[in-house]
Symmetry: C2
């Protein structure tokens, strides 16, 4: 049997920082999820004993909070400008999809944690995350609302359902999009934007 937890990093090799701990925690949380990763796993990954992690970080949950907030902020920073550009609703939706997949291809593991594991935060901290998610959602609501108002889009019976469907599709792409795969973020985003705007019917 020997050890289940492999000592992945030799102790005392290079300096350990809060950033390094965060990086390794992202990889571990993304792979196995927050509740099943122990401080001992994180310690092994950076080459410290579990108790020594507390020299650099204040606790396990605070580590998660930082990962989640930065993870969502990455999307707000990239999609905000795309969604607010002074162009047609169709172009803005296309640009928003593209921006989303570009951030996803850069930060796939952090996205996994940010989108799916914020629920392990305490209620108070969840509130901050929900507010950020709402801003993210509103970017898409605005595009669709504008498009319907100007007549560029069809009069949808339930625009909110469409927005939720789009966002759900984007969120879930975290599960299948491969940054190193044969299709680039732009190619995937264009294909999906075409399907969303024009439909798949001939």
């Amino acid at each position: 049997m020997a050890t289940t937890r492999g000592e992945r990093r030799a102790r005392g090799s290079t300096p350990v920082s809060a950033e390094l701990i965060e990086e390794q925690a992202i990889l571990l949380f993304a792979e196995k999820t927050y509740p099943v990763i122990g401080m001992r796993d994180i310690g092994d990954a950076v080459g410290l004993l579990p108790g020594s992690l507390y020299v650099h970080i204040s606790g396990k949950e605070d580590l998660l909070l930082r990962i989640v907030e930065k993870g969502i902020q990455n999307y707000l920073d990239a999609i905000g400008p795309a969604a607010d550009a002074p162009s047609s609703a169709a172009e803005r939706l296309r640009a928003a999809f593209t921006a989303h997949f570009e951030v996803l291809s850069r930060t796939r593991e952090q996205t996994r944690v940010a989108f799916f594991q914020w629920t392990y935060l305490s209620p108070e901290k969840q509130g901050r995350v929900i507010a950020m998610r709402q801003r993210y959602e509103d970017l898409f609501v605005d595009i669709v609302r504008d498009g319907v108002r100007t007549g560029e889009f069809r009069r949808l019976r339930n625009p909110r359902v469409i927005v939720l469907a789009y966002i759900g599709m984007l969120n879930n792409a975290t599960e299948w999009f491969q940054p190193d795969g044969s299709l680039s973020a732009i190619e995937v985003a264009e294909e999906i934007a075409d399907a969303a705007l024009k439909g798949i019917q001939a």
Copy 2:
């Protein structure tokens, strides 16, 4: 402080069965996820002490496996016939979406567990789940492939991306669709099927 775990069900009231334990486990796993729910939580929910659960079930992981497999089977049973019907690809896609949302509205909590928590199973058990998920995915692949082949759908550059996007959208609907909300499964499915087939552009 007192107790965090509320004794939700009085001990010794009505007979406990494997089915009751499964029902309660679905609710608990759906709300908090598998790894953070203990046998003590499940015991509280059915009115047994944790050790007594093993009279009815063989272990925590086996409980999860049953919930996941039945949860996915519900979708195969409902979508299979819809996807294989002798009608147009558009009608079959519409019927598949509708069937999906109908199962979701019936089994929302179990779907949450089945779609998102099968990753907590041991590798061997995950294999069985992956095979079922593949059959589910293939139902949609077949519809899109048929539609493209007959010319009913556009020649998509990457049909697989579209299928993954659709399925991701459906899977993620588990997070926002409310069975008791103002919109029925059929209404939501129709709205989304329209958007998928015709697009949202005017």
